[in-house]
Symmetry: C2
Subunit: 199 residues, 2 copies
Amino acid sequence: MYPRGLQTLMAALGRLPGIGPKTAERLALYLVRAPAEEARALARAIARLKEEVATCSRCFNLAESDPCSICADPGRDPGLIAVVETPADLMALEAAQSYRGRYHVLAGALSPLDGVGPQHLRLGELLARVKAQPVREVIIATNPTVEGEATADLVARALANTGVLVTRLGYGVPVGGDLKYMDGLTLSRSLASRRKIED
Amino acid sequence: MYPRGLQTLMAALGRLPGIGPKTAERLALYLVRAPAEEARALARAIARLKEEVATCSRCFNLAESDPCSICADPGRDPGLIAVVETPADLMALEAAQSYRGRYHVLAGALSPLDGVGPQHLRLGELLARVKAQPVREVIIATNPTVEGEATADLVARALANTGVLVTRLGYGVPVGGDLKYMDGLTLSRSLASRRKIED
């Protein structure tokens, strides 16, 4: 049996998504032999994460402050809102450097198998934003997957009577893919070819 | 850009072996959303690792105390020493539950490309143990890889004039494999079919 301190670490690492027992063992054994400062830096980064990372109360992006730097930026068009599933998707669109509007992070996509229903998404908050501000257009930038398409339908239906223009990312994005793993050019093209969702 | 706290964590995770930037991003985003107690437990386990895990001064296994529980166990045959590359290999042999001797952890294998030479292995300590105690047999249980075989040769040559019987794990173990990933039966068989190394 490994010493208890190592077993504790292996159990904690093994709880991370995609980290199995063998990977947890390998990482823990690496950390035992790693320079003390490297291990300390990792422990500190994890421990401080919750204090240092906030959620923007407008768009629900991860941020250092509230509102986040995108919501607070007067240069970003407040009449244009891109609806994304997760902060990682938002980051992928930002990296494409062709979008100058604001965002709304739903915090997930419809997925009955995982127990995610409409009540788990930040739809009410999106509706409130659209009603409170002069929003011209909502671009639904959920992932081109079954869950993302179902979520896009849901968002479009929720916005149907608000008078706002609702569009969907153009199909430059390959069906079945994940925004996080797409290149900037594909994302730029899909933004340019966005289309209105018909009721 | 992600908030600074997240970027710090991604950089720290990305320094771990086998963790690329995308995996670091995925793990960090998971930890932001994970229950605070889970993240705290992981940070604590990493931070305490160096304090709680010692190295046995006899066999160089990772241990909670010095000497380790195997070296301190009077039921383990002190006349039999299995030489392994790493603590993980030792653990694999222990899990096979068919070895009742003691161990010597070399802390690596010869690997000129990685800059690991004979001076980085705990060979002098092994020689001292063999000379100081009544050791009957040394079983060389390095991995059946190029590096492991070269290391086995080195250990056998170092022990050549000590009068101790030097054996090598039997080839139940497939060439090119890694002890850590082998089943207990294969390991038991290779222990039973161990053979003397000729000078």
